[in-house]
């Protein structure tokens, strides 16, 4: 199968025709408008290795995330970064290329934290393997983590190895009525204590908190924190929060602000949804991009125009602009892996 990919890449290189790498296409809307001929990865699918006691899973790029999760669940394990699922057919290659993490990211770590190794085809159709299947590995540059979140601009991921972890033994969801300022303050104070908080979501005066871990620890924390216990619909709430399927996310223009968790409430017009203990702030707002980007920057973070019409993204940029030295390094790295610029050009930044 990868031979077919290689042939496509070589042909694209000869004709300077860009390729648009695509799995299930569930994140076609993410980043900038897509150029090039589709290179569909779904035919290269299947779990290559799963070793529960070694805590890793290796899968080909086209393997559906759902298939991997089902296999892990049979052994009581999971991918703790909680990637959003925009479609039941989302592929693992697309998930890693997008690099998005869900509500548990604040406690478990991000997708890139769990990447142990990748196989890629670079822009000259060379098959390259970086990292491996072991947790500690510092041989060579950490290219696997560079590939995570690079939106397919550096290479075609053909295979990926991810670290897996046991599913928490016990989980409880609590709700508190709190305004934004008080919720942010409590979240930051709790985060400084040894409490088993795995996820949080604040919206419209209500803070929802997820605890997870050893049964005894969860029970003790529940007593300490108080709040109102959420019953049967907690699982559905967190799933819909992860998949951005709640009504809040159905906005034509949605911003994703990554800021320090201690940043005070951002004085921006529009509704907010806050996760990651305050470090992720979703914003539905029609305010000018400069205003929103400036507020995020001033708070010590950055703002992504997450969902918006392609024309608006083209006009203001989907991702926050890079400093001149960073842009230079990005261009150089792009040239190092894809010198002819055939992979997903412009998807991340118009410059490469």
């Amino acid at each position: 199968m990868t031979d077919e990919f290689k042939a496509r890449i070589s042909a694209a290189g000869r004709t300077n025709a860009p390729l648009r790498i695509r799995g299930a296409g569930s994140k076609d809307w993410y980043g900038h408008a897509l150029n090039g001929e589709i290179l569909d990865t779904r035919s290269h699918a299947g779990i290559v290795a799963y070793e529960p006691t070694e805590l890793f899973v290796t899968a080909k790029c086209g393997t559906p995330l759902a298939e991997i999760e089902t296999v892990l669940a049979q052994k009581g394990q999971c991918l703790p970064f909680d990637a959003p699922r925009f479609s039941p057919t989302s592929t693992i290659g697309g998930v890693v290329a997008a690099g998005l993490s869900g509500p548990r990211r604040v406690s478990a770590g991000s997708l890139r934290d769990f990447v142990l190794g990748v196989d890629i085809l670079d822009g000259e159709a060379r098959a390259l393997r970086f990292g491996g299947q072991v947790m500690k590995n510092v041989a060579g540059y950490d290219v696997s983590r560079l590939i995570a979140g690079s939106l397919g601009t550096l290479g075609l991921i053909t295979e990926v190895t991810l670290k897996v972890l046991p599913v928490p033994v016990a989980e409880v969801t609590l709700r508190f009525e709190l305004n934004q300022g008080d919720a942010l303050d409590k979240l930051n104070r709790w985060a400084g204590q040894p409490l088993p908080i795995v996820a949080s979501a604040w919206h419209d005066g209500v803070l929802t908190l997820r605890l997870g871990g050893a049964r005894a620890a969860v029970e003790a924390a529940q007593l300490k924190l108080g709040g109102e216990k959420v019953g049967a619909d907690a699982t559905a709430f967190w799933r819909d929060c992860r998949d951005q399927a709640l009504p809040f996310f159905a906005a034509e223009r949605l911003w994703r602000l990554s800021v320090p968790s201690v940043a005070p409430p951002l004085a921006l017009p529009g509704e907010q949804w806050i996760e990651w203990g305050g470090a992720l702030r979703w914003l539905r707002s029609d305010s000018p991009a400069e205003t929103i980007r400036a507020a995020a920057h001033q708070a010590g973070g950055s703002a992504t125009l997450y969902r918006a019409p392609a024309a608006l993204k083209a006009q203001v940029g989907a991702f926050a602009p890079l400093s001149a030295p960073l842009l230079k390094l990005h261009r150089n790295l792009k040239a190092a892996f894809d010198p002819k610029g055939i992979f997903n050009p412009g998807r991340l930044y118009p410059e490469f």
Binding site: E54, V134, A139, G301
Partner: protein, 500 residues
Amino acid sequence: MKPRIHSHERDQDFSDVDRSAVLDALGAILPPDALLADREDLKPYECDGLSAYRRLPLAVALPGDEAQVVAILKACHRLGVPVVARGAGTGLSGGALPIEHGVVLSLAKMKRILKLDPYSRTAVVQPGVRNLAITEAAAPHGLYYAPDPSSQIACTIGGNIAENSGGVHCLKYGLTVHNVLRVRGVTIDGDVVEFGNHALDAPGYDLLALMIGSEGLLAVVTEVTVKLVPKPEVARVIMASFDDVTKAGAAVADIIAAGIIPAGLEMMDKPATAAVEPFVKAGYDLNALAILLAESDGTPEEVEEEVAAMRAVLEKSGATDIRVSSDEAERLRFWAGRKAAFPAVGRISPDYYCMDGTIPRKRLAEMLTAIAGMEKKYGLRCANVFHAGDGNLHPLIMYDANVPGELERTEAFGAEILKLSVELGGTITGEHGVGYEKIGSMCVQFQNDELAAFHRVKTAFDPQGLLNPDKAVPTLHRCAEFGRMHVHHGETKFPELERF
């Protein structure tokens, strides 16, 4: 001077560096006490923690702030002088080994904690701050910096960034890459670059991840923001004895299969405990062929639950003796032996050589059996300590550098362990880095196309190849030489290698 261009094919020759021009340029930037060039002053910098390799640099520069770092790098860039950044020099792979005709850039003077904020659980520190100093400064707030390499009392955060350092708790708490939010660094052309920020995500490629573990080849670190985490309320450690290393290895897998991620999970074989016990008196079972140390931390309730669960697994896995630390003093004593393993081996042998391969846990018994065979083959003893939870093995090969041929036999022994690590599905280095030491073994782990890709990454940051040249990533010429050498010794062959 002719312009240099970094190439993946051959190591560079820096013999035409103009010594007096370099000293003049650096002398214009630094006060006299921050520039060393006399032989006796250079001597302490001739090696790092891997003292088998020594070289004198042209000069040592000790900048006091970032502006001086920028000026030094710009000057070296202009003059085509190689630069080796250095923290505390505790590294075990020769990563800070000087380059002849090159400058050592010591960050030792930049050792201030600029900000420690318990509310945001972050600390902003200069690169020369010691790993343990961060934890000590955070302790009054009930916080600490999680990665704890065994050299943490001396090693610096800048060096930890360079090596992506781990420690005995990284199975649960991660490596340096999981515990750093932001690195500020200077590229060889003097650009100051922010990698990451104080939020959890930064726009663009994850250059923060790329910087961490890059062994000083991409940029010089001038400031770091680390995450601090709450100190667990309690920790207890279980010490389990086994009469068979295979059973001990299987017990590690059984613990993980039971859904437990211990805070620490370490193994020592009989030669290691025998070396340590007279030195530390940790109370290790000297009859056991292997002991496991398994730590649980968290709330008192959580720890009680987890210790009971681990004890049950260990009993079922055939442990011949199980002890649980009853108080903090005993817990620290159990760990003291593990943490003192390297110096203890240093006491019973004139020299030792520490290896750092990682293997899938399930292959442990195979590896230890093979090492026992290599001890006979090379006529050298080896003690094994092992971060069992994450598969990172530290065989300590004992030798005497004064006996002609012993160092060479030791190197061959080490290279054979690393080659086997790769064959068993692992890697040549888990946490010590490639540095100068394992550069030949990189040719075993990676294909030429991959090595060339690493060189292109290097070129993206440092086109002339001036930052820490001849470390971490071998040139293809060197791999060809490495292959020839090993064919000559009758060890291994690398028929797939191109020859230059």
